[in-house]
Amino acid sequence: MALLKSLAARKDDLSSPANQLEFLSNGVFKKGKLPLFKDKIAQTNHFPLKPKKLEILQLNLGYMCNQVCSHCHVDAGPDRKEIMTKETMLQCLEVIRTTGAHTLDLTGGAPEMNPNFRWFVEEASKAGIKDFIVRSNLTIILANKKYHDLPEFFKKHKVHVVSSLPFYKRDKTDKQRGDGVFDKSIKALQMLNAVGYSQEGTGLKLDLVYNPSGAFLPTDQNLLENDFKVALKEDFNIDFNNLFAITNLPISRFLEYLIASENYEDYMYALVDAYNPTAVENVMCTNTISISWDGWLYDCDFNQMLELKVASKVKHISQYNEDLLNDRDIIISQHCYGCTAGAGSSCQGSVA
């Protein structure tokens, strides 16, 4: 499969967040066949959705990536040039030193491709954050010689590595993430194991992220974790800690796929049918602040991609104030059904 281009590079209509939001508010939602997310959560007394205690600061270091995954909600790829500058990183470090959040979560694109990534990790790791996550796509470790020592670097800074692996078999993984991705991912996981990740007594955590390779929802996270553990151990002698099952949200390239494959309506019905009020209690926007490459603040990574900035006086990292932010209403739209279906979905997996 040839490497795709991002929606942005193709100048596709869906590269516009406004167009995506308009699409998500029309069709089955406009005709009243399905309830708007706002009305659905109002039925269970969850509107307006409010934050709880801030636990996670998630920083997007840039949309550049060595992969172009067909489901990517970031629309990331080699053709995306949006990268967090050192100046914005310095502003983030100020916040990291004073935040009440216990988890720092670096994501992208491929965050490792940011030229200041290593400097930033070194500085941020001095702040004493309890759980320091880097979301690595795995193949970046093998993409270029300069990245080969990333497992050692992660180990040195006690980084908690969270990596995407859509399935434990080659065909589904490569279909979603590109030819050769599975073999490289397996090699990278073995390299992480070799330096001590997910090995007893090291304290080095390696978690995997599963997301369905198509227009269907994930099944029980524990069952999937067990299948992954057995298969990866038997076939490749790979160990990992936990599996996070994540639902694909109907935005960006996954929305494009749903529309092109004529699965959009069925998928939205499936999400709405699986609405779980218990999941609403714990959706990640209630304990997370997402910070974009250019320092703007969002309720979650998905709202970031839809350019829905926080509904607060404080909208940028340069004005950061946790108390003021915690008083906001969370911005919602129909894509939010993705986080409330079944056992719920978040960057940390199931929530209910």
Partner: protein, 111 residues
């Protein structure tokens, strides 16, 4: 729009059958849900059985539903196709075993 007896969108309305008989509808859906829970057989095994039976009874709604269910459970296409062959083998076997009846009748009627 072409008219057909089967509309894929009707599957979503399956629950509506309770509107015309709430008691029996509720009993059926309770029973259905219970059948597919983890038991002596895993939910995964039950999903594959359901897929095979869906083909044998030639229910398009059931085929859609249990293909999707299998995908969600991480059941692979090779497993799904083998399940379909199990159903097909039983169905064709059920046809062919009647060949014995044909042979019996033939022999009985022949001098």
């Amino acid at each position: 729009m072409s008219k057909t007896y089967y509309d894929p969108a009707d599957l979503r309305k399956f629950g509506n059958i309770s509107e015309w008989n709430e008691e029996l509808g509720a009993k059926f859906f309770d029973y259905y849900g219970k059948v597919f829970e983890e038991g002596a057989l895993s939910a995964r095994e039950k999903s594959l059985i359901a897929l095979a039976v869906s083909h044998v009874v030639q229910c398009p709604y059931c085929i859609d539903a249990y293909t999707k269910d299998g995908l969600q459970r991480g059941i692979e296409k090779e497993e799904m196709m083998e399940a379909v062959h199990v159903g097909a083998a039983i169905k064709s076997g059920a046809t062919l075993v009647h060949g014995v009846q044909m042979m019996n009748k033939y022999e009985k009627l022949s001098m």
